[in-house]
Amino acid sequence: MTSAAGTAGPAVHQFVPALIPRDATGSHTLLLRQALRDAGWRSDIFAEATHDELLAESIPLDQYPQHAAPGDVLVYQLSTSSAVAEFLLARPEPLVLDYHNITRPELSEAWDPEPARRSAEGLRQLADLAPRSVLGLADSRFNEDDLVAAGCPRTAVVPVLVDLDRLVAPADRRTADRLAAAKATGGADWLFVGRVVPSKAAHDVVKALWAYRRLYDPAARLYLVGSTPSNRYLASLRAFVADLGLQEAVRITGEVSDEALAAHFEAADVYVSMSLHEGFGVPLLEAMQVGVPVVARPAGAVADTVGDAGLLLDRTDPTTVAAAVHRVLTDRALRDRLVAAGRDRVVVHSLADAGRRTVEAIATVAGAGNVTGVRP
């Protein structure tokens, strides 16, 4: 386990149901711990479960009482239901909710009742925790609305912590070569990054690709990059792709390494999101970081995240999406404008700036006097 900065005095500790690598919440948690430590706080991560890759980065949840000290502030990374919520409800320390949104149960209950049940339970836990918290942190106005509705006495919107530099690191050569070979045969490369679950609506992207191939570019391809936790949805999506005769055009990669993800962003001509629910949409930010234009359904926080740096479609029928993608790929001026606007937005989300703002927000409830050196 990595040691906390300092050994005595109050601390800002984080609590997370599961610490998982290459996961938006997991990455945010690790980066925030670093920002807190850089600012002079003692800070550790207490997790109910930890992925093998990150075992050295966390402490089992039930060991917190041995680490507790007067003046501690507890930050809960809330994105699903978990026993952590009940644990924190029973603790006397000031509680900060760092809320990453919970997917609405109705978006998945017909497909996967268990995740839907967990989402419903998570929303109930949010309602219990919010009045008990001293501060609610949200990475979008959309998420902040949830915190306010749940009864948080005080809220702040601060950027999510994302290490966008990992995408400018060298791309995985094998993946890059494979993508380059496919590109050499012609056709545009569409990309969507996210879990392959009903709420992300990858099937709507597939419909749009089908229309795009029929109307504009018969050789276009789609890469769906992300974990596949819903076997039922994955099977349906695959069958749908087969019905449309798109087996060669649609690649469902599953979860990939950061280097392989960088290769996908490098090869992509356009990033297309038809997601029905986004609390923030980290991959949208990543697309903007690497200069890939965005075409998206403005669901949840997408409009907040993308702003004027993408085409946000009020109508998302396949023909409209196809026409929008065609416009982005053939109108050089539009493309350049979107890419430039995207890079401007990314600056707001620079890791250093996001870390500083988050630490400052937490310091307002933890006692600014404890901060020994906020670094820009």
Binding site: A110, A149, A211, R232, A235, F240, L311, T319, T320
Partner: protein, 321 residues
Amino acid sequence: MTEQDRAYLAQVMIEIDDEVRRRRASGDLPARVERELDELFLEHSPVAGRGGGLGEALRMVDAAAFIDPVVPVGSNKSGGAAVKKGLRSLNLWYIGYVTHQVSQFASAVSRSLHLLDDRVAELRRQLDAQEVPAAPVVVVSEDGAWWAADAAKALAGAPGRVLHTACGDGWLVRSLAGDGIDAYGVDPRPGKTDDAEAVGGGGGDLREEGVLDHLGAVESGALGGVVLDGVVDGMSHGERQQLLRLLGDRLAPDGVLVVHSLTPAAWDADDAPPEADLAPGRPLRPATWSHLLGTLGYSVTVHPGSSATDYLVVAVLDTPR
């Protein structure tokens, strides 16, 4: 975002909408096709229980069985959330009491449905184990078969169209047509009726369909004659009874039934087709056909084959139905 940016993007969206309208008007991608895309995905979706069968529907029942008494309190109006939350707190003891009972009822219903599902699954498993396969088509006749002339003679003057089962490339249909008989054929074997193109001249009216399905769709008394060839040999008793019942209704008065069958001995011979071992039934003896058809009101004549491997039964439905 500046006003200029906003105006520029709005103009782009207008132009995209124009492009969509133009594409739809030109018929490149009609809205109907988009609906078909949606329907195609729905076929793979458990939404509304489609595509998932009973198990999927039960999963949805399970998901809906819990009634949440904690009403959302979000509001667009200032102070609305606080008011709603206050109301919720005031009523929660009451609503919680009611929803608890509703949830219990829903859980009991769900449990009952699961028990029924288990029972049906068990019955299905038992039925699957006892399933009788459909009779195979066993065709040993071909153009120039010894019995074709006898069949044509019996069918001359049939009071309506003549059906040939397991018609293959339509060899008998063509032969009967040559004799001035209005004949057509059905064959359930995939692609068999397409062979008519290969033999040249077309095979006439040939359809890829099983005999029972076809007779089920034919009007009462519409057929002047039926040639059962290649279909009765391996039939189960139940299928044969169903076939005779349908024939008794579909044949016109004085309609002619011609049955060509292998003999039981040929069915048991070493050189019998492999379907013989796999079929649910076995051929009847000529005498059995005579008995069976006689009791159903047919006048029966048997034509034995010279090699004793097959025979022909000609039966005329000569009693009023």
